[in-house]
Amino acid sequence: MTTQADDELWSAIADPSRRRVLDLLVGTGDVSASWLAGHVPFSRQAVSKHLVVLEQAGLISRRKQGREVLYQIDADRLDQATQALADVAAQWDRRLVAIKRLAEASHAEHKKKRKH
């Protein structure tokens, strides 16, 4: 079960092209939308849309420098997002291990019965 804030975060980073923008920002930081548009295979307009969603989710912030707007990641929020996803993955790992134990126990029981 997720909260509203989780949902925003989730949907912000679920999109592969937004992850690409985020990746670039993680690697560089303090760059303009035009610079980003020069490094991805989609339009400047698409980059701007992605930046809005990422900013709403709190994953990036912007600041003005002269006439330019520069973007950078919010490391804490990104760390939190990474952790949230890792938690979901770990939850599934635990469930899969539980399924494995139940199935293997059930199978062993069945084989034992057949022998007798």
């Binding site: 949907s11 679920a14 490391a75 990474t82 890792a86 993955a89 599934w92 293997e104």
Partner: protein, 148 residues
């Protein structure tokens, strides 16, 4: 697939029919998944899962024994799950010989929205990398930043 979130798998030393039963029978599900599972395993069936003092609706999507089982969850109560308001959990069971089964689970959601179809397809084709890779890359970058 667009918006792929999480994919995990496990190799089980039991035939595929046994694994199918554990994965799909509600009384078995309550042993590895939710505390309480009210569910009829039929496509389109609406059910409910209880986790501690929290719970939520579940809608079964695919039942294809003994290979595929999927359901939607995390959509708001009272709403039908559609792309964008829910997560899709999908189990795939693949026999490896008579007594071994590979079980894979994916949890995905939030398909690309508000994008022209041609563009969507192109981006999806270009960026097939899964979450594992993304997480590893992020984690290593964050570590590098923190140790600076």
């Amino acid at each position: 697939m667009a918006g792929l979130v999480i994919e995990r798998e496990v190799l089980i030393e039991a035939p595929v029919e046994v694994v199918w039963r554990i994965v799909t029978e509600p009384d078995q599900m309550s042993q590895w998944f939710a505390d309480r599972v009210d569910l009829v395993v039929e496509p389109g069936a609406h059910g409910y899962m209880q986790f501690g003092d929290q719970g939520g609706p579940v809608v079964v999507e695919t039942v294809d024994p003994p290979a595929r089982f999927s359901f939607h969850w995390n959509h708001p109560s009272g709403e039908e799950p559609v792309a964008g308001n829910s997560m899709l959990v999908e189990f795939t069971l693949t026999p490896e010989g008579d007594e071994r089964t590979r079980l894979r689970v994916t949890e995905s959601g939030h398909e690309l929205r508000d994008w022209p179809d041609a563009e969507k397809q192109r981006y999806t084709d270009e960026h097939q990398e899964g979450w594992g890779e993304f997480l590893e890359r992020l984690a290593s970058v964050l570590e590098a930043r923190q140790s600076r």
